[in-house]
Amino acid sequence: MISATAPEDRFRLIYAGNFEHLLAYALRRVDQPADAADVVAETFLVAWRRHREIPEGGEARLWLYGVARRVLSNHIRGGVRRERLGVRLRQRLAAPTAPDPGSEVPDRLTVRAAMARLGDLDREVLMLTIWEGLEPREAAAVLEVSPAVVRTRLSRARARLRELLGDDLGPPGHVFDVLAAPVPEEGR
């Protein structure tokens, strides 16, 4: 590795340690997978331009999620897409790949549809907690609210989701463990 200045090395480490997490964050929140490339590219561009502000250690990821959240909000409002940055990433994410049969089983779609009906902040608290695996304190840092608010919202989101899902789902522990890919039956 070529020597470089400490801030540059630090940024590379931050990128390496967080790229996948940020990509996952973006993919979970955009309609078209290719759009996640714009969110990731813009987020890390902001981070690069403000690298002196990125906190140390694990807090860096929370800071990046916070930036990504604002980027995503601009994206949803129709913010200008960066044409130059992340073209290759966009192409790779847009490339047709073998569909993951597990991602589209009806019950999963039902859950996502129910989550879509939650309030924005409630849904985000739920996603940060369960999909990103953040503690209430960490989710609070991303959302710039107090941990108490996160706990309240989380509790409310769970209750509302339970209500929305109602009887739509089969018994827990059964439906979501099925092998969704078609498996040839023996003897055929």
Binding site: S3, L27, W48, E53, L85, G86, I130, L161, G173
Partner: protein, 360 residues
């Protein structure tokens, strides 16, 4: 459903699949390189490498037009600038008129008229690093005790992007610098940025660091004045390599450096205004890029003798005086040598264009 069961249901509905990472085929790394080649506060990659010299390269000459003009008059003699044999065209060189004032080339003046420079007129300020001051871009640092003020010029086309970015820093507050309108952003107390609206085809952003009070910042900013290029260049300390000093400075640097075929010496004159370290990096960068291009050409052509010659030239960089002199000041020599060692070992120096600034 218990909370635990519900959470499992939600977790299973996560649309993200980790397999996607394996399908990116290096696109994540490409994005990183793209991002890091974008201008940041610290400028693109090559410039960042050379900015590791802040502590070592702080120049201590007090700002003062009179003092610097005096220095200009004792600037390198025509013998020195004429000895290169391949200097930039005479029309690009500044000349001393009968009255003793420096006259700069039409090209330099034209660029500067479009992009006025700023100077701090408050006493006690000194110029630190200056680099890459070309037509529309450049950085200059001023120091006064614990207080630092950096000014970065960017191309006007980046303004919207930078402005939007700073909106995440704080709410913008209208501000002016010598009558030029802009916005003040607060990173934290003592760490302020004033982003001026584009003026000509560039815009400038001022950023404070160190120990400031609000009153000190306001007072210093109120003394900043727009100046024309002659005044600005004249205010540079003698150590700074301005266009009129570039040829002589390059002669000194290149004295023990083998030049690649078709080395375009005129490019030296187009490097803008730079601190000595930065100038050394830019000049050796030009040489390195030339040798690597020759090495690649020769490899393609199967010209083994030329391949060896280019590799030997790059290997010799370990002994170049300029790089050894610069080694305590920053990381540029190490980066250069690492690329050189790859060439010497017959390995492709992937990404060297970025490292050495070959796209300039």
């Amino acid at each position: 459903m218990t909370d635990e069961q519900l959470d499992r249901v939600i977790r299973n509905a996560d649309p993200y699949r980790a397999e996607v990472i394996g399908q990116l085929d290096g696109a994540g790394q490409t994005l990183l390189e793209e991002i890091m080649s974008e201008p940041s506060t610290r400028r693109p990659l090559m410039r960042r490498l050379v900015t590791a010299v802040a502590a070592a390269a702080v120049l201590t000459t007090a700002l003062g037009v009179t003092a610097v003009l005096r220095n200009h008059q004792s600037a390198p003699s025509s013998d020195a600038s004429g000895s290169s044999g391949a200097s930039a065209s005479p029309s690009e060189e500044p000349q001393v008129s009968a009255s003793g004032a420096i006259r700069y080339s039409a090209m330099v003046l034209q660029a500067a008229e479009k992009n006025p420079r700023l100077l701090i007129k408050e006493s006690g300020w000194k110029v630190g690093n200056v680099y890459d001051f070309v037509e529309r871009e450049g950085s200059i640092e001023f120091h006064n005790g614990d207080r630092r003020l950096e000014m970065n010029w960017y191309r006007a086309e980046y303004y919207d992007s930078y402005y939007k970015d700073r909106l995440d820093v704080s709410k913008p507050k209208p501000a002016t610098v010598d009558g030029l309108p802009g916005f003040l952003f607060t990173y934290s107390y003592g760490d302020w940025a004033i982003q001026l609206k584009p003026n000509g085809d560039s815009f400038v952003e001022l950023r404070s660091s160190g120990t400031w009070t609000q009153a000190q910042f306001d007072r210093t900013v109120s003394t900043i004045k727009q100046v024309d290029v002659q005044t600005w260049l004249a205010a540079m300390p003698p150590e700074v390599v301005t266009a009129d000093r570039a040829d002589a400075a390059a002669d000194k640097i290149l004295a023990d450096v083998p030049l690649p075929p078709n080395f375009d010496r005129a490019k030296v004159a187009a490097l803008g205004t730079n601190s000595p370290y930065h100038f050394g990096a830019l000049v050796t960068g030009l040489v390195g890029c030339g040798w690597i291009a020759e090495w690649e050409r020769a490899r393609k052509a199967g010209d083994q003798a030329a391949v060896r010659k280019a590799a030997d030239a790059m290997k010799s960089s370990h002994h170049w005086k300029v790089l050894n002199d610069m080694n305590d000041g920053g990381d540029w020599p190490e980066a250069f040598w690492e690329v050189s060692d790859k060439i010497a070992a017959g390995k492709d120096p992937v990404g060297y264009q970025d490292w050495l600034g070959c796209s300039r």
